[in-house]
Each structure stands twice: as C-alpha cells, then as structure tokens.
C-alpha cells in the first residue's frame, strides 16, 4: 500500500493537468483511497504515469546480433556492477538485458514495445524479454515479407491470409504486427529492393508493396487487434522519400495505422547533396488524417547503432560509410541489417535529420498521435530521451543548438521558425498516455482508478534544470523500484500478448507448406506459452 501526496499530477488521459492531488495504490493498482502503508511526500514534484515506449529494439535476434559486433562500444559503456540484488550488465548503445530494465526504469519508463520480432526466432525474443527486469513488455512480429503470406496475397486469398496471420501471431506469442519495407526484404534475398509501391515485388507478378500494406492493415482491423498495423515504410532514409510516405499514407486511408520512426521517412531532395526536410508536408497530411498515429524516431547527435529489418537500406549505409556491416536473412520471413553509425553536428545530412525529428514533433498538432522515440538504437539511445524532452520544451535551447549546425543546413529546414514549446502535460501525453492508447493498453498511461500503478515522480524545478533526467521515485505495479537514483526493488514484468481467432483448419494448410520451405519441424515453430515470463493475454477489440 502506498500513497503519494502533495505532488502535481499530470494525468491527461483523465483530464488532470498539473493538479495537486493524492494518488493511492493498493495491490499494484490505483485505488480511490488507502489505509496505512507508506506515504511519499511529493511536494514540489510532478507525478506522471510511467513512460511507455511504443517503438524500441531491446530484445531478440537483431539486437543480439548487434551486441556481438561491437565489443568496443561495451568497453566505453556504463557498467552495472553485480550485487546480491542486481545483475551485472553493460549499458551503452545496445544495453544488455538486465541493464535495459534498470536503465528504462531509472528514467521513469515502465512499459516497452519490442518493435520487430521474426517468428522463427520469437522463442529467443521471449527468452531475452524474460531477462529484462521490472518493465512490462509487448512485441510485434514481422509480417510484410512473409513469403507464405505474400503467396496468398498474390493468389488473391486474403481471407486465408488472415487466418495465417492470426495463427502466426499466436505461434509467436506476439501482441501485434510489424511491417518493414513491404516487399523490399524479400527482394533483398536476391540483392534487390522494393522502392515503388505500385510495382510488383521482385519474384512476384501481381502483389505490390501497396497491396501488402492495405491487406495487412485490413487483416489487422478484421482481427480486431488492440494495436493497428505498425509500419516502417519503403524507402527509409532515402532523399525524396516524402513521396513514398505520402503515397503510403494514402493507401492507408480509412484504416488505422501507426507510422514508425516518421523522421526517417520525411526527406525531400533527390540526392544526399540536396537532402532537405519535408516534415511540414508530412505533418500537414498527418494532421488532416486522424486514422494515423506515429512515433518520431528522432535522431540525437552522437553514437548510435542502426539495427533494422530493412536489409537493403543497411547495405546502402555500409557502402556510404564503410562501417562494420552485418546482415542476416531469415528464411521465408524477414531479415536484419546492422551498421554502426555516429550522427555528427557538422554533417549536413545529420543536421537535417536532427531537425526533421523535432519539426515533426512540433508541427504535428495533436500530441495524442505523435510519440517520443528515437527508434532506439537507430536514432539514438533510449536513455537520452530526456535530451529530446528538453529540446521540445525549451525553444531558446533549441535555437542555441541550431546555431551549431552547418550554415547550409539552415536553408534545408524550418526548425528556426518554430516557437512551440511542449507543456509538461503534453510531455506526459507523448511519452505515456498517447503510446498507451495507441497500443491499446487501457490500464497503462494514466493514473485513474484501476490503472496499473506505474508512476514516475520528478522534481518540478531541479537544480540541474533538466527536469526529466532523474526521477525521484519510480513505481512499478505499486512497488517502489527506484528511489533517489537507486534501484530499490526488482520485479518481474508481464508480457502482453494477444490470441486472435483463426480457423483451426489453417494448420492443416500450413503444415505441408511449412515443411517444404522451412528447415525446422512445424511442431517446433510455435512458442509454448510456458516459455513466457508472466504472459498476460489481452483481449482483441470488441
């Protein structure tokens, strides 16, 4: 039992915007009142629902692949020393699993959505998620380059494709569906890509990336999944890709969808030398179309690691930079590419990218539809989110940073003209309430009665001036996990999954197909629910 008194509560989901009121907690949830137990005096502090990261890469084959190729990053990373209560680990650009839990919780984030899981290695993802302490998790399985699904779409068998998708989600014990570079990753398996939405995918005669996108969006809506199609558009990172992004959004008209790391998809120009921001164009369309949510995928100057299913893009990046490159193609499903990268202030391209992320966050009007992410670790590390928050809240500081960019960059971006400053409540929306709502996690992102007691408490006016850098308290499921910068308790989080309905007969269809093109037994493909730590099956939408 716990009571938080005297703090300024920001609970925008329930219309509470900086009002001093008590929060009472019992049995891991917010309750109307409580007798006894500890009382935290939160005077001079703000009380936030715990952060919800709607798009991050923290667990599974892709991240583990990345870990293996960068021992030099780990040597520079913050070490986590083993104690009787805490596991050892390393932070840095690709934190190890235990460190990931401690770092997110240490910032006041309590729920994360692992954005890209191949079904074939979902078992691995769940094993890593099991080793991330404190946080609640969900995960999205990769579907837009699944050759069994693509074959069905090619044959016009959308209904059967729906049952296959549903079966696959349950086999992987996932929460939702991720689409990455639809058609492009399957083309990459013979060294090609899919850069035109209306052209048939390499190796196919009919199915196009546009069809994959609209079919999957339709299937997900039919399955009533809590989270809509989560889409990484074609042509990520390419100058001029604004047209692809707009075209994609038009394909999605009338359907729910979540656009991932929108910053990487908002570029004008026709080459690296003419790269410019088209955030305003994207924001204008986005503002007018309320069927869409997005996460920013903003970049921060400094070291990062690009880890994405978008294999062909990573090969391009490798050829551009000469940096270490790793790639793994996953049979019949997807792939992964990894290239180390550092964003530099003096680089014209990186300066434009930096501005684009911020412009999107400032030009998109509704904080309930645009969320704070860096596509960790692609744009920057998650433990640097407080830096982004500062840039959004302090226009003067933003302008100071702008001055350090190459003069040429100033003509390619509009950031200097933007005066908007996010309010504290708006920060609560883009870091918690909004993502929770978009994910369909109704008990997250707010502090109303019945909500999970996931709470972050920050000093309102800390001496350092950096409000969100060090929470005074972090509470997860009613347990004080962080207090004054120390981890006080380590809890085991839950894994949210869905069980969409599918016709049981679909297995008879899948089995022979599977045995033909895969290299494991069909019976070994689904992940047994016993392998998940604290699985929590969430209902599909009514």
């Amino acid at each position: 039992m716990l009571r938080i008194t005297g703090g300024k509560v920001h609970d925008p989901a329930n219309g509470v915007l900086g009002v001093v009121q008590d929060i009472c907690i019992a049995d891991g949830r917010i309750v109307p009142q409580v007798e006894g137990g500890r009382s935290i005096d939160a005077s001079g502090m703000v009380v936030f629902p715990g952060g919800v990261d709607v798009h991050t890469h923290v667990a599974g084959a892709a991240m583990n692949f990345a870990r293996g190729i960068t021992p030099e990053n780990y040597r520079k990373a913050s070490p986590f020393i083993h104690t009787p209560e805490l596991r050892a680990g390393l932070g840095g650009i690709t934190p190890t699993t235990f460190a990931t839990g401690y770092l997110y919780a240490g910032m006041g984030w309590t729920t994360v959505n692992e954005a890209a899981v191949p079904i074939l290695s979902a078992r691995h993802t769940h094993e890593e998620l099991h080793d991330i302490p404190i946080l609640d998790k969900s995960s999205l399985v990769l579907m837009a380059n699944n050759e069994i699904v693509l074959d069905l779409l090619e044959a016009g068998e959308v209904e059967r494709a729906k049952h296959v998708v549903a079966w696959l989600i349950w086999a992987a014990k996932a929460y939702g569906v991720k689409a990455v570079n639809p058609g492009g990753i399957v083309a990459w398996k013979f060294g090609k890509n899919a850069s035109k939405l209306s052209e048939p995918v390499d190796g196919y005669r009919r199915v196009t990336p546009a069809q994959i996108i609209s079919s999957l969006a339709g299937i997900i809506d039919d399955l009533r999944l809590p989270h809509p199609l989560h889409l990484h558009c074609n042509n990520l990172g390419i100058p001029g890709n604004v047209s692809t992004t707009l075209e994609t959004m038009k394909v999605l008209e009338g359907r729910r969808a979540h656009m991932a790391h929108l910053q990487f998809h908002a570029y004008g120009g026709n080459g690296w030398g003419t790269l410019r921001s088209e955030a305003a164009t994207i924001a204008e369309y986005f503002n007018a179309h309320t069927n869409l949510t997005a996460d920013a995928g903003a970049i921060l100057f400094g070291d990062a690691m690009t880890v994405t299913a978008d294999g062909p893009w990573e090969h391009v990046l490798h050829e551009l930079t000469g940096h270490k490159w790793s790639n793994v193609d996953v049979e019949n499903e997807t792939g992964c590419g990894i290239v180390s990268y550092t964003y530099k202030e003096r680089s014209l391209v990186n300066a434009v990218q930096w501005a684009v992320g911020l412009e999107l966050l400032l030009l998109i009007n509704d904080p309930w539809r645009i969320f704070l992410t860096t596509d960790h670790p692609n744009g920057g590390c998650f433990w640097r989110y407080p830096e982004l928050i500062r840039l959004l809240r302090d226009a003067d500081y933003r302008r100071e940073c702008l001055k350090r960019l190459p003069p040429k960059a100033q003509k390619r971006i509009v950031l200097a003209d933007l005066d908007r400053q996010y309010t504290v409540s708006e920060i609560a929306i883009i870091t918690s309430a909004g993502p929770a709502r978009a994910l369909g996690l109704s008990q997250k992102g707010h502090l109303g009665v019945g909500a999970d007691a996931d709470i972050a408490i920050y000093d309102e006016n800390p001496a350092s001036g950096l409000m969100f850098e060090h929470p005074r308290y972090v509470i997860k499921g009613g347990v004080i996990v962080v207090e004054e910068g120390q981890i006080r308790a380590v809890t085991q989080g839950r894994e949210f999954i869905v069980h969409p309905s599918f016709d049981e007969q679909i297995e008879a269809y899948l089995r022979p197909l599977f045995e033909k093109v895969y290299t494991i037994s069909f019976d070994n493909y689904p992940v047994a629910i016993e392998r998940l730590a604290q699985p929590d099956i969430r209902a599909c939408r009514p």
Binding site: P71, E72, N73, R75
Partner: protein
C-alpha cells in the same frame, strides 16, 4: 620516488591500474600502501603484495617478477615508471604521456591504444603490442614503443600513428590492418606481416615472408629513413640507411584492401 618491491607472487593475476605515476605522484607513502589492487575478484592493498619504501614523488619504481601483474601504468599521462623485473599484460595501455622503462619482459597488450609517451622494454614482449583492443577501430595513435627482445602476434595491429621498434623476431600478423605509423623489425617476422594494411610503413632489416597480395615496387634509400634513423639512434636503436651499405626493397600492399601500405626490406650490398 616510491619504490615497490614484490614480496609475494599473487596466486592469480593482480590488476594494478592504480600503480601509475598519475595516481601515486600526489600521495604520501602510507596512501600508496593502501591503494587498491584486485586479486581476481578480491580487493586488496598494495602492501599485501609489495614492500613500499622511498618518498612521495613523480616517479614510481617497481621491482620483482611482475608477470602476473596487469594494467600497470594504465592511462598514465606524465612521470616516469621504472620496472626492474617483469610486468604483466596491458602495461601502459591507453598511455598519453610520460615514460615507462622495463628491464625484463612484459606480457600481451603492451601500450595498447596508447596516444603518447614512450615505453622501453629490455626483454621480450607478448602479442598485440600497441594494438587495438578487440573491435576497436584503431590501435595506438601516438607514442613510441621500443622492445629489445622478441614480440608475439599482431604487433601494431590497427595502429594509426607512432613507432614500434622490435629488436628480436616477431610472430605472425605484425602490422595487421595497419592504418599508419611505423613498425621496425630488426630481426624480421614470421608470417603474414602487414596483412590487410591500408596505410603505414613496416621496415624489416632482414628478409621477410610476404603475402601474395604484396608487389615489388622499387629499390631505394628513402630520405625519411635518415631522419628516422637519427631519431631512433637517440633511443638506442640503430637502423642502416647509407647507400654505401645497401638499399631498401619496397613492397606495396595489401591488394586485398586495396591498401597503400609499404614494407621496406633492407638489402645490404654483397660484400
């Protein structure tokens, strides 16, 4: 100057990064005695393993067979560190300045990723002299390492700048993935010298096995070598360069990269 004399061999390696002039210069002797050293996982005191005598000062002397003592002089920026005896792995790693003198031999990773200062080893060294730690893009970026005896594998691996000179023979992969700087091999090397070099100069005073991806370029007496020779002779390391005595055969490589590195092999005139 504090003098530390090893009185007890550690059963397992001792990690002693606190044994560095930067750390000891400001300390009184009792504080030096209390400095932490790590015996495997257990923190101990310097005086659990060393007799500590002398006075506080900018220099530091360590005596004994310290082959199991790792990380001495780590990251040092100034002062003089003298080892009368042997030292273990990572001696002078990340060094930025100052001088290290060793009368005996050292283990692997001598001067790894150093950026300045000088190291002189009277005996032999292990492998990875002046090298990059695994995964790092570059090894040493400056400074001088002189080894009178032999050295092991991957000497100067991925070094960017600086000089490594070895009197005895070195093993495979000297100058592996070199990016710049100079490696001098008085007694040559075993196999795969200069493998995957992109830039830099390897000078061998005796014939040396080369990879198939190196091509003969010319035979000459490069001007820069006179300058080098003069510099190295002040450090006690003599290399021939006079036209009357011979010339250097120049090989370029490694074509696998393709790199712009060079290997110069001394060819004395037939007498």
């Amino acid at each position: 100057m504090p003098t530390l004399t090893l009185k007890e061999q550690p059963a397992v390696p001792l990690e002693a990064e606190s044994l560095s002039p930067d750390v000891t210069a400001a300390l009184a002797l009792d504080a030096v005695r209390a400095l932490p050293v790590y015996l495997g996982k257990r923190p101990q005191r310097v005086d659990d393993f060393f007799e500590v005598e002398g006075a506080a000062g900018d220099e530091l002397e360590i005596r004994g067979d310290g082959r199991k003592i790792k990380w001495i002089g780590r990251g040092m920026t100034r002062g003089r560190l003298t080892i009368i005896g042997n030292a273990g792995m990572h001696l002078g790693a990340y060094m930025k300045g100052g001088t290290i003198e060793v009368s005996g031999s050292v283990m692997d990773w001598l001067g790894a990723e150093m950026s300045g200062g000088s190291i002189h080893v009277g005996g032999n060294a292990g492998g990875q002299v002046g090298a990059a730690y695994r995964g790092s893009l570059s090894g040493m970026k400056g400074g001088t390492i002189l080894i009178e005896g032999s050295a092991g594998l991957e000497v100067g691996m991925r070094m960017r700048r600086g000089i490594i000179a070895v009197g005895g023979q070195v093993r495979d992969f000297a100058g592996l993935e070199m990016k710049g700087g100079t490696i001098l091999l008085r007694s040559g090397a075993e196999l795969r010298t200069g493998a995957w070099i992109s830039r830099g100069t390897i000078i061998s005073l005796t014939p040396i096995r080369l990879l198939p991806t190196f091509s003969y370029s010319c035979t000459y007496n490069p001007t820069f070598l006179r300058v080098y020779a003069r510099h190295l002779s002040t450090l006690g390391f003599r290399i021939p360069y006079e036209e009357k005595d011979g010339a250097y055969q120049r090989y370029t490589g490694d074509a696998a990269v393709p790199g712009k590195g060079e290997i110069l092999v001394w060819k004395p005139h037939a007498s």
